[in-house]
């Protein structure tokens, strides 16, 4: 402390200025990261569209960039991702919302104290473990029910992605429901409502913006999920709605190419950046939508 007293004021002010500048630069690392992502994605993507027409990219129904004749239609990859989103949402949205309602409205304190950490553990398990689980447990189960299912299929990967995103839907929705003031609940109980009626007619509608945001975020997460689909969904880009067939997602394609030895500058190298740009754009739009829903429809109580 004594040392501080003897330091001259101007020296201290000078130090503060240096510290302020340093911290500002650190604060800008995140901006540089965003710029870096956009630049590195767009540079190769522009290169890609020099040799492939953008119309072909979005309308051709075949994706065979590494074979002759090469086709560069991204639709099969988008369709693969779409299938994963559908089946993961069928699992994660109802079960996540159900457990959120249970934890927020029904569960006694003691039960909540046990169940919440379990959901958190579920959220902390690496996606590679879910991928393994899909491949070695879910797929054999599916194939015993549908013998026609292929070893790699969209259903198995979709279910695993769904299980992985349950905690996300659950905890975000629960936060939204916890924010609904008790006065609303008590008012409904005073009118003779059952817990079911309070939950479905009062709490869920009042928290709907937060709940919807959690759905969209979980979809965005499913779109970006990589290891599960790389392990369990297959690597055959296909324009199909049949979940029992082997497919490929956008992320799965990027992994497949990265695992092989693709020289920089080749068209194969450029395709992963074109697909990556599309992936980045879709998830960014979904994240922005989810944030705007919360902002726009948030009611102040």
């Amino acid at each position: 402390m004594n040392k501080i007293l003897f330091e001259s004021k101007s020296k201290m002010q000078k130090n503060e200025r240096v510290i302020n500048k340093t911290l500002t630069i650190l604060g800008m690392v995140s901006i540089f990261t965003t710029i870096g992502i956009i630049l590195s994605l767009t540079e190769e993507t522009i290169q890609f569209f020099r040799s492939v027409s953008i119309i072909e990219f979005f309308t051709s129904r075949k994706w065979t960039p590494m074979f002759e004749p090469a086709n560069y239609g991204v639709l099969p990859l988008v369709m693969g991702t779409f299938l994963i989103v559908i089946f993961s949402s069928i699992i994660s949205i109802p079960i996540g919302l159900g457990s959120a309602i249970y934890l927020s409205e029904y569960a006694p304190k003691k039960v909540r104290k046990i169940l919440k950490p379990v959901l958190e553990i579920l959220a902390g398990i690496p996606s590679i473990v879910y991928g393994y689980f899909a491949l070695t447990s879910i797929t054999p189960l599916i194939r015993s029910i549908f013998p026609s299912a292929s070893v790699f299929n969209a259903l198995s990967a979709g279910i695993a992605v769904g299980i992985m995103t349950i905690p996300m839907v659950s905890s975000l929705s629960e936060d939204a429901m916890m924010a609904v003031p008790d006065s609303l609940r008590l008012g409904a109980y005073a009118l003779g409502s059952t817990k079911f009626e309070v939950s479905t007619k009062i709490v869920v509608p009042a928290a709907f913006s937060g709940i919807a945001a959690s759905f969209i975020l979980s979809i965005s997460r499913a779109i970006g999920e990589t290891m599960i689909v790389a392990m369990a969904a297959g690597s055959t880009p296909k324009l199909t709605l049949n979940p029992l067939e082997s497919i490929q997602t956008m992320t799965g394609y990027i992994v497949q190419i990265s695992l092989g030895d693709v020289p920089a500058g080749s068209i194969g190298y450029k395709t992963i950046f074109a697909v990556g740009t599309l992936l980045f754009a879709i998830t960014l739009i979904l994240n922005i939508i989810s944030r705007n829903i919360v902002k726009k429809y948030r009611r102040a109580y």
Binding site: I4, M12, E16, I19, N20, L23, L26, G27, M28, V29, S30, I31, T33, T34, G36, I37, L39, L41, E43, P94, I95, G96, G98, S99, I101, Y102, L103, Y106, A107, L115, V118, L119, G124, I125, P126, S127, I128, V129, G131, Y132, T136, L191, G192, S193, T194, F196, E197, K201, L217, S220, G224, T226, M227, M231, I254, V255, F273, G276, F280, R291
Partner: protein
């Protein structure tokens, strides 16, 4: 409102309605409980399945050996070492930048458009799929900066990936410092930096550490960005410097799980057990650190 009124009228007219509504409530209660318990059941089954397959393959040799064509001789040593080096380096890079950014945003930055922009940008970065960070790493660290497919390039990539989470959790920890402490410090004539290092950080450090360790443990389980950066799936030597090529536990597990030989799936399960044990250990450290510091704060 009209719905509630109708219900009320129905209730008065028809007392049987109450019983039906109560049954409905019971049914719904059971259904919701099943939803919640679903996660528990899946977790239990997943752990049981992995332990059953992997435990017989877990041994000291498994930790010490290199990967091999033969399942019985396969080991996890290079992947384990790669993961540990990567995570250490990632933390060293991401921690100062993350905490510095959080201090800047909470204490130094003005309440203006630029600050808002940085905050919005961080929120957006937190939602970017991890594989995109891999592409950033490939373009910037591996190629433009010439680091090659090294541990260093992988660590920088992972550091950028976990940075938003470290920033957001550190911000929360800093925000939890009581204003009264800061004001008391300023009243003694301290500069901003003295208040930050003498009052704010000591108070916020348990929260900051917990957030950092949790986000680093996320990096431990990530495979996708590292595959894009070019971590190898087959490494037959132990990495000795940060410029060496490398593999990590998740990538090694991915590699084993994709092999046609059935025994390799059990080897993969053994690898998953090692990964989960490390994650458990790391998370326990976070909890212990937090508890230890929190008690000291109360004194």
């Amino acid at each position: 409102m009209s719905v509630l009124k109708e219900d009320l009228v129905r209730l008065i007219d028809n007392p049987v309605g109450l019983r039906r509504r109560k049954i409905k409530n019971k049914f719904f209660h059971g259904l919701l409980f099943l939803c919640t318990i679903f996660g528990v059941v899946v977790l239990a089954f997943l752990l049981y399945d992995i332990l059953k397959k992997g435990l017989p393959w877990l041994s000291v040799d498994f930790i010490k050996n290199f990967p091999s064509r033969f399942p019985k001789k396969s080991g996890i040593y290079p992947a384990l070492l790669g993961s540990l080096m990567l995570i250490l380096l990632t933390t060293v890079i991401a921690f100062p930048v993350g905490v510095g950014t959080a201090v800047y945003l909470e204490e130094y930055a003005g309440n203006n458009k630029f600050t808002e922009f940085i905050k919005l940008n961080i929120a957006n970065l937190a939602g970017v799929p991890s594989i995109i960070y891999g592409m950033l790493g490939l373009a910037v660290f591996v190629r433009a900066l010439g680091m090659g497919r090294s541990i260093l390039a992988g660590s920088f990539t992972m550091a950028l990936l976990v940075l938003p989470i470290i920033i957001i959790s550190s911000q929360e920890a800093i925000r939890s410092v009581p204003g009264i402490l800061k004001q008391a410090s300023y009243a003694l004539g301290t500069t901003k930096w003295q208040t930050v290092t003498g009052v704010i950080l000591p108070y916020a450090i348990p929260g900051i550490l917990t957030g950092t360790i949790l986000s680093v443990s996320r990096a431990l389980g990530e495979a996708a960005p590292l595959i894009v950066v070019g971590a190898l799936s087959y490494v037959s030597f132990a990495p000795s410097s940060v410029m060496d090529s490398f593999t990590t536990l998740p990538i090694q597990i991915f590699n084993w799980a994709s092999m046609p030989k059935k025994d390799f799936q059990n080897v993969a399960a053994a690898g998953i057990i090692v990964l989960l044990i490390i994650l458990l250990a790391v998370n326990s450290i976070a909890i212990i650190l937090r508890d230890k510091y929190q008690i000291r704060m109360k004194d």
